[in-house]
Symmetry: C2
Subunit: 265 residues, 2 copies
């Protein structure tokens, strides 16, 4: 008997910041049948709220450094405002969503990133056993659609800011033993582009070997590399398929016409 | 066969605002055996955050008026910062907490308070069928401890600010058909006091008739009246017992030495 299908969809970037786009996306997400999980980033709302409060976002090598005040800001925005707005919208579309941080049901336990050259502050790294598979299975089997914000905890009372792409990838990997998992990264572009200036230059499939070439040639740009690396890691660890494409095209996913598909070879 | 016991505990007021008191309370809450639910208000964090953002709390007849900006503030603080901090702390004490707004799992659906003399803005009123008993039962039977923030939704995508005492009361009433429910209001005083200036003047039991007398005599002060009214409503609707007392004494609850006990007669 084959496993049942589980679609894990990550939404981030500009879509979160645009109420109309987000609403349209959520309606499409709600329409996907079967078991599914949504993972969302925080968009620019946290940065803007931080600015209004005099808490400035610090970036080191493109990574957000999270001090105590910024942790409060992202907890408020990611796990509070954004997560609950998304959940309330999904309920409107008859999708029985339940919003989760990693602390809720102890679903994702992380460790504070060890300090080497950079102290990232209250940033949580995901380990191989971070995902509480039995707890998430309970939610899925009870008919709920988990909606994960990018906040985790260390099991000792400390909340931690965690990369949402990594959460999506870790969930996919960990749940691939129980379900046939597809991981779908939604963002504001139509897929991985061979020409960043041409939105129609979507690369339909990328095998891992090609990814190495694209990186070497500079065709795949810097911001995309960790996203794709996460995706290939997931495939290597048992995720059935990974897609990356435009949130506004999510309705095309079931017709297999969505964005770039990543494959082993 | 008797129903199993369910303790529904409401925490609010100064305890939420004091990290050390809150932590001590949560450790005691976690130690209570069996099925339990925590309902929390937001304390003054929301008001302070609002002030920093230039969003001032408006009070009309002692009730908070919630405009769109203030709704965002309370959603961030109640459902985000406070709720997730509490959940992460409870996990530390081996209590498998899961934080919920009314939108999560559609557990509490409210209606925007109708405008009569006052437009309360984005405030949700609880109706007799607001509580989704089957959903909450799923969480309890799966071994989770639900932690409710005072945010609900209208089922049509709109989040609403809702009085936490009312949520605790509505949960107690609605779940009393399935469980033997005790409702415990925790706050910063030792119980209902016969002399507001004397913390040791705790009234051990109050029957409903006495409550009417205390109100008429002015012994029970204004802020306490809606709290007790909610409590007696709950008893009238099937809740087994209602207690009101000091959060720091929660460990005495199981010895039946906690605060004021409200009874029918």
């Amino acid at each position: 008997m084959s496993n049942s299908t589980l679609n894990i969809i990550k939404i981030g970037g500009n879509v979160i910041d645009d109420d109309i786009q987000l609403e349209a996306f959520l309606e499409k997400f709600a329409a996907i049948p079967g078991k599914k999980i949504l993972v969302h980033g925080g968009g620019k709302i946290a940065t803007r709220l931080g600015s209004r409060l005099g808490v400035e976002a610090k970036l080191v090598e493109g990574r957000r450094v999270t001090d105590k005040e910024m942790l409060d800001v992202v907890t408020m925005v990611y796990a509070g405002l954004t997560n609950k707005r998304i959940v309330a919208s999904l309920q409107k579309y008859q999708c029985d969503a339940i919003g989760l941080s990693g602390a809720d049901g102890n679903v994702i336990k992380s460790i504070k990133r060890p300090v080497k050259d950079i102290d990232y502050g209250y940033v949580g790294d995901i380990l191989v056993d971070s995902v509480n598979v039995p707890a998430i299975k309970k939610f899925l089997e009870a008919g709920f659609t988990p909606v994960f914000s990018a906040i985790t905890h260390n099991g000792n009372g400390q909340l931690l800011n965690t990369n949402a792409d990594t959460i999506a990838s870790a969930l996919s990997t960990s749940l691939s033993g129980l379900y046939d998992v597809s991981l779908i990264y939604c963002f504001e572009k139509n897929g991985v582009l061979s020409d960043v200036l041409d939105d129609n230059s979507v690369i339909e499939t990328i095998a891992m070997e090609q990814f190495e070439n694209y990186k070497a040639n500079g065709i795949i740009s810097e911001g995309m590399i960790p996203k794709l690396q996460n995706a290939f890691d997931a495939i290597n660890k048992g995720v059935k398929s990974v897609y990356i494409g435009n949130a506004t095209n999510l309705h095309l996913f079931q017709q297999q016409k969505f964005g770039t598909r990543l494959i082993i070879k």
